[in-house]
């Protein structure tokens, strides 16, 4: 279960070391934009040591490496792949060929290390107009791709438009990302809300993203993590209804009914699928019922 992903600058020990107590389901240890070019070497070693020593139990570890157009990405992978992080986030991923280049290099490292292929998954960061246009090709380029992630700051610059709190300028990109990810059967994550002091704004933005179909949302501030987790978790009402749906289906089957209704509404396959997704999430959150 990954509702929230919190960015932590890769060369800042005091933030990295508290990574497992900030409430996020995943931490993104950032070797890219949060690290100055002359500190890339230091960040790589610090992140490697932190993961090796602290392990961050209960929190998924995602490493944002540097992009293909830099001299850093291979060194980043050389240090990170031996640690078997759950995910590598690849920035500025604009086409399937980008994914395949990362994939091939990681496969080589996995072979050298004696790891099973595809042990380490990829989360391409899509933050260019070309990347959004190629979102499905990126999401389906490799078995290694587990999710795609929208980066709206760079995308807005590429679109030559102003980035706003309302986010009208990224509405098409958000919808396109969700469609591409769902068609490729991978998860999809929304861009961070960058005003760290706007508590109402993050809630509105996260609820909108959830409504579009995003799996979860990234954050650049620990302050936003709680709201993101809340928004992307099922409510007790959702959970109760999901169990009612499954119970109605069970009884309907016992009675040999072809069609089943609940509270006067017919229950069809999509409703059952959504109910099962809600129950799966409730179970992951420890809110499930024993009989499920």
């Amino acid at each position: 279960m990954r509702r929230s992903m919190l960015f932590l600058p890769g060369n800042t020990p005091n933030m990295i070391l508290s990574g497992d107590c900030l409430g996020a389901d995943a931490i993104i240890l950032d070797l890219e934009d949060a690290v100055a070019p002359d500190q890339k070497d230091a960040a790589r070693v610090l992140v490697r040591n932190a993961i090796r020593t602290l392990q961050f139990p209960g929190v998924e570890k995602i490493i944002r490496i540097n992009s293909l157009d830099t001299a850093y990405w291979k060194k980043d992978l050389d240090e990170m792949i031996p640690l078997k992080p759950e995910l590598i986030m690849t920035p500025k991923t604009s086409c399937a060929a980008d994914v395949l280049e990362f994939d091939a290099y990681i496969s080589g490292l996995e072979d050298k290390l004696g790891y099973e292929r595809n042990t380490v998954k990829l989360m391409p960061l899509i933050e260019t107009a070309l990347g959004v246009e190629n979102a499905f090709a990126i999401a389906s380029a490799s078995k290694r791709v587990a999710a795609i992630f929208l980066g709206a700051e760079d995308l807005s610059a590429d679109l030559r438009c102003k980035r706003t709190k309302e986010g009208k300028e990224i509405l098409y990109a958000r919808g396109r990302m969700v469609l591409a990810a769902r068609a490729a059967n991978v998860d999809v994550y929304d861009t961070p809300f960058t005003d760290v002091n706007d508590d109402e704004g993050i809630r509105v933005d996260a609820e909108f993203a959830k409504g579009l179909g995003f799996t979860g949302k990234a954050s650049i501030s620990p302050r936003h993590v709680g709201v993101i987790n809340e928004v992307f978790s099922p409510t007790q009402k959702d959970i109760d209804y999901a169990y009612e749906v499954m119970e109605a289906i069970r009884i309907g089957k016992e009675q040999g009914k072809g069609a089943v209704s609940l509270h006067g509404k017919m229950i069809d396959a999509p409703i059952v699928a959504r109910a099962q997704q809600t129950i799966d999430m409730a179970v992951a959150l420890g809110l499930g019922r024993e009989e499920a």
């Binding site: 020990p13 005091n14 070391l17 070497d41 230091a42 610090l46 040591n49 932190a50 020593t53 602290l54």
Partner: protein, 94 residues
């Protein structure tokens, strides 16, 4: 093998971090430590630094560490980066 090194620095003065400087010395190795936890951990920080310098074959240097409460994994990371930078500054390939 003894490494040829140049002058280098690494780390920051932020809490939980350490700032370090390394430079060649005429003879012998000196480790100067300022630490907010000098009383509790000063000896172990100096021992860790000496151990890593020895492991890497770095001799005859002055090492200055300003520790702001860094954990061992952070100190090791900063020392590793410092030594690599000092080697690069000294013109070594490895």
């Amino acid at each position: 093998m003894v490494s040829k090194i140049g002058k280098a620095s690494c780390g920051t003065m932020e809490s939980s971090d350490a700032y370090m400087e390394l430079e060649p010395a005429a003879s012998g190795t000196q480790i100067e430590l300022q630490s907010v936890v000098e009383h509790q951990f000063g000896d172990s920080i100096r021992a860790l630094a000496a151990e890593m310098l020895a492991e890497e074959g770095v001799e005859n240097v002055n090492l200055r560490i300003v520790d702001r409460g860094a954990l061992e994994c952070t100190l090791r990371a900063r020392l590793e980066t410092l030594i690599a930078r000092a080697r690069e500054a000294g013109g070594a390939n490895a």
